[in-house]
Chain length 411, copies 2
């Protein structure tokens, strides 16, 4: 009989979000009158920017005429989109990134998982704890870990705890790891990294020949002008970092699907026998062989994000969600609950009141306030005692949810 990839059996059965859905559905069935407000999954709720919609309608018209019809596009994405990204997201911030180093994809989740294809199986790998589960699960599936323990930690992975004690930025290890996942602004904690902190990571990576896998999916939510939006704002990062970006959260593309990954041409890895190889060529080959590019229509929609109208409409969306975040922060703080994040990120990271466990607080919030959030322990052992509240919802829902919480929890 054909053999399966046994590593899949190491994955924890209850993935976080299905378990949340199960509990919410059970509660909703038992309490059909309850008006449940969902501040759990980080999914956008507001309409796509008009500029993006207009560009996509135009692209569909292009597809209706033989002369302007588009068949297979470049697997790496259209030059007109890559150029705009390189200029407006990178060169305008002083990052030396060329359009050819940008690979358009259908999602950062895909890219975060697929990037492992080009790496060997014998690298040591570090993640923060708590962490976006996809970094961990894709390494489990690729056979880079041992079994899971009671705390939900996989053997062989290096976990770097982040908590209020270290300002939610991991301490840089004093030993070598080959691949390090960093996410700033952070999902789930909403924490940010200063240039100095990222410089320390880049220095570490260059010293050890490590590669930083930098997830900047939430960079557009940064309000503090002193904070870096890209790892490539850091001196030396071109030699040690890959960056993941997405249109999901800034332009509301979670259901439209477009993202990109930046692989500098100066980035190198090593073969088993010590030969040095450029990673750009490997990723280019991977994408050419296992991917066929993003829909022309969607790429035209993404391009419109960089038009003057698109920029202002996208900025309005971000301001809207960040005002939600401000309301969440202020109301919870006023209720005597300790909160973090939410100032440069659409996530507010809540210390559960009265020493409740993450899941106990989840159940209590659901039952007493009919509000859904995400238990911090679902993101890793060190997330226990925390809770993630997302700013992605309508103003009315956010205000109503905060009213209910402050009424029930006010000390």
């Amino acid at each position: 009989m054909a053999r399966i990839n046994d590593n899949y059996l190491k994955l924890k059965a209850g993935y976080l979000f299905p378990e949340i859905a199960r509990r919410v559905n059970a509660f909703a069935q038992a309490n059909p009158e309850a008006k449940i407000i969902r501040l759990g999954i980080g999914d956008v709720t507001e309409p796509l920017p008009q500029a993006c919609r207009d560009a996509m309608v135009q692209a569909i018209e292009d597809m209706g005429d033989r002369g302007s019809f588009k068949g297979y596009g470049p697997e790496q994405g259209y030059e007109w989109l890559r150029e705009k990204i390189a200029q407006q997201d990178f060169q305008s911030r002083g990052c030396e990134i060329d359009a050819s180093e940008i690979f358009i994809s259908d999602g950062s989740k895909c890219d975060c998982g697929n990037i492992l294809d080009i790496f060997g199986d014998d690298n040591s790998i570090a993640v923060t704890d708590p962490v976006y589960p996809v970094y961990v699960d894709t390494n489990v599936m690729a056979g880079h870990t041992g079994e899971v323990n009671d705390k939900g930690e996989y053997g062989g992975l290096v976990y770097l705890p982040i908590s209020a004690d270290n300002g939610f930025t991991a301490e840089i290890p004093n030993y070598k790891v080959d691949l390090i996942y960093l996410c700033f602004p952070n999902n789930p904690t909403g924490a940010t990294a200063t240039k100095e902190h990222l410089q320390a990571w880049v220095n570490y990576a260059r010293t050890h020949g490590s590669i930083i896998l930098f997830d900047a999916a939430y960079e557009a939510f940064i309000q503090d002008p002193s904070l870096p939006h890209s790892i490539f704002e850091i001196e030396g990062a071109r030699d040690c970092a890959i960056e993941f970006r997405s249109f999901s959260k800034n332009a509301g593309f979670t259901g439209t699907r477009c993202a990109f990954t930046v692989v500098p041409k100066s980035l190198k890895g090593q073969t088993k026998d010590g030969q040095t190889v450029e990673l750009w060529g490997l990723w280019n080959r991977r994408q050419s062989t296992k991917f066929n590019g993003v829909s022309y229509i969607v790429q035209r929609g993404a391009e419109a994000v960089y038009s003057p109208e698109g920029r202002s409409q996208t900025q309005a969306l971000i301001s809207f969600y960040m005002e939600n975040a401000r309301i969440i922060r202020e109301q919870l703080t006023a209720a005597g609950i300790q909160v973090y994040g939410g100032e440069n990120a659409p996530y507010v990271w809540v210390k559960t009141p009265n020493g409740l466990s993450s899941w106990d607080f989840f159940d209590k919030l659901l039952q007493t306030c009919n509000v859904v959030g995400t238990p911090g322990s679902g993101f890793g052992a060190a997330g226990e005692g925390y809770f993630r509240i997302s700013a992605f919802n309508s103003r009315a829902n956010v205000e109503e949810a905060m009213k209910r919480i402050t009424e029930k929890f006010k000390v």
Copy 2:
């Protein structure tokens, strides 16, 4: 230094289509007046069906309103699309396939590569020769092969030759292989398989516990009503086959991007220690973890393929390309050139005249007729002496190309 995936270095440097592009560009630069007609890459040329465009414009409108806006969709695809596929592509042909067994994706090329994620590294793997290069390259990248030899064959892969001698259908081996790639209607040869031939493969697979990876991307081009469109028309296939389908060629979605993969719930594989595991669950987990679904807009476009208007418009596209194929077949035959395929597939597989090698015929056709095709040897050693001509082009271009070829080559 971080380690790379050394298997990438085994890949042959000159991928077929870039090499074709290089030669065509060199010729075009040296002969700027030449009117080159491209019948090489299997890319569609005609406008998207009106029904698909209308549905996508409506979907963009949905995205503009908070009430109908769509964020993250199901990773497996929307139920309304999966249901229509299950009914119209499978149940209507007597195939016992449920909507839950259909996974919507952004392309068959992606799925053909990604499917290897759920299998172990110790399976024996068979491909036909000639073959669609993606099956081979993704196995090389996954470390399932040894080095490549002078003929372009990778160590460890089982090559099943197909040629005029066996009617371009591989002889079924008398030994066990675990995974078998089959493609009908075939790319590149345009050959088809009868129900009897597929039944023999299914019987083989069930005897040996093998899995058939069945690529049916060209099924819509089948004209002969006796030929099966799906492996699931064959008794017992639910226990031994995965099928890949695409909207690329029937509805002209090469630049729009939508496809699907069928994984029956009855399909099983084995762990190293002999435990039996359902493949559906593994693929579901793979897609949930490393993929975020296809654009809502694009899925609405694909759904429209199943409307009465979409069906008739898609049928018109197929008839158009098949009329091109008929012209190519007849004209080349009249010129004394031996041709295969093109009757139930958009590819005509040409025996090169005068015993020319595939690349010599390529160069000659380019230089004397300014027509581009694809050298058969690019698809594998047993493709030497053959040449692929695609029916995907305008009527005028196909007629002009055939006029030039018959004038130059007529015996």
